[in-house]
Symmetry: C2
Amino acid sequence: MSSAGDSLQRLQELGELVISAIKRGEFPKLEMPDRSTNNIVFNKEKNQFVLGPSQICRDSSNTRHVRSFSQLLWVASFAKTLLESGRTSSLRDLYYSSEAYGVHFKDQAESDRVVSDLECVVGLAREDLGIFPEERSSIFGQVTMRYTVAGYEGREIDLTMSPDGFPIGPALVTAEPVATDAELILAVESGGMFSRLIETGAWRRFGAVLVQLGGQPPRSTRRLVRRLHEALNLPVYIFTDGDPWGMHIAQVMISGSANAAHVDGLTVPTAKWIGVTPADIRKYSLPTEPMSDADLKRLDELARDPRYANPESQRHISEFRELRRKAEQQAFSRFGIDFVVEEYLPDKILDPPDAKRVTKQ
Amino acid sequence: MSSAGDSLQRLQELGELVISAIKRGEFPKLEMPDRSTNNIVFNKEKNQFVLGPSQICRDSSNTRHVRSFSQLLWVASFAKTLLESGRTSSLRDLYYSSEAYGVHFKDQAESDRVVSDLECVVGLAREDLGIFPEERSSIFGQVTMRYTVAGYEGREIDLTMSPDGFPIGPALVTAEPVATDAELILAVESGGMFSRLIETGAWRRFGAVLVQLGGQPPRSTRRLVRRLHEALNLPVYIFTDGDPWGMHIAQVMISGSANAAHVDGLTVPTAKWIGVTPADIRKYSLPTEPMSDADLKRLDELARDPRYANPESQRHISEFRELRRKAEQQAFSRFGIDFVVEEYLPDKILDPPDAKRVTKQ
């Protein structure tokens, strides 16, 4: 996470680059990494997508570039205003705010793209620039965070204080992890599972910081998980539905996505998907539904995806293909509402049969 | 809100009714209000939908009723287990849990329906029975709540402690409002607006408890708003997008829905929709989009809906029909990101030109 001061400095440098060109009587140009598909490469060592060496140039002397060039500068100046005033903006608000300045975006997809351009140019994530999506997932556990947002600077909060959890919004994403009594981070897909793990006291038993993902989580949730993992040295486990979509929620947390190949600090390469695996579905005779054509097609895509080019992932995929059925994480409730806490999770986290326990390093 | 003890007693009475019939050598029967469309009537005095006098009977001597009769008793016994152990369940978990007991539901829609049946039979809302949906909206403001959930009994929380707000989950829905320094409740549709009102300190300026609805809010959010309104004597304002869907979010909070005609304690008849009204769109020259066919069709439906049978609502509808355009609440950002806080909301809440201020009674 970059501090507001560092972010402001990067924006200032960008502005100076443009102004000095103008003062020299030149048309300003901006170089940035190329985010098009053919420059997104899979880095095997990092086990994640990164951008290749290709650069593109926004040249204000080219009339075809003038529009995107000025949009980019406006987003940079909007971000500067946000950071200077300690405010944040949603991507949607940013889109609407442009009208006040006579800057035109065709739709929000276009302004979102220009926000990504700015991320590339200044080498920061949009969250560092005060720009956040609307979606929120939640967190709960034995972690103390120190806020940095205006009005709350230096105030600390214990993330067990609210038994419904805390939304992962701008304040928590920019807060500093201060201390923890937890042993691990357990990210779960559904809100029902999140509530269950809180009210059964499972968080205490497993020493778990619980994160509710709610499907593919927003980038800010992935950033917070990564920061807690690094700052507090907590291993990360991911528990999702047993289907290709659930597997992929975990895989994106582990090795990132092509869309965010230009952003650092989102992945946890040592995170572990603990299920629901196809082997779990068989072992526990879970209630299942047949896979749809879309599910099977998705499995084919994952089989070819470089992020799944490891024996364990390929085994899961071929077992899913054989099974042709899927199960939600709630399916364990068939054995009673506490089964998942009493039996399944201890097997997976405390005493995994097929893997060494991921321990605090 | 019914206490867990009261709820348990109602469930117990239901069980005794069934057992005593069996002991008398009779097939047990259960009477409940009829929830079918022709028994949902609009009560003009209450300005909301209620159930008419028609009753239906689940008769276990009728083989066509045996399935729904036993499903109902199973849901009742599941709820009893939840209440006795201080647990909650999502509607989805309840559906999956049925398998553990050999009780069969065709799909979750069927188990959701049986939960509604049980609400009718015992005259309680599902939240009183420990059963919650997955969705969460958020709350933030100068209110102190005292938790009643297991592990947190008696602990108090100040709802300004988390600058990202608090999720309205099982713990907060069952907590007791203890004290407030607030003057009013301001419910807003979007998460972006919710964040804006927190970080600009608008909550302090307007003395507002902020509630983020996120579209049509879950019933538990409406319950919490109603309880804060009653217990703390706070008037309620609702701020949504300027389109028929936004109007209807407000109207359901004001006068309820046909789906929940059998549940009390969800509506705030004196709540006020403050916009974005079609008049606001004109007055502030907001950026708009043309209404789709679905939007226009929805306006026709609302025009015929008894909940809109008042001059003010009809005026909004006919102005929307003339305008044929809609605006999101973020559209005010065209005048700068603080315009909504500096200009629009003071006009609407502190000094409404076209209506008396709703004051604390």
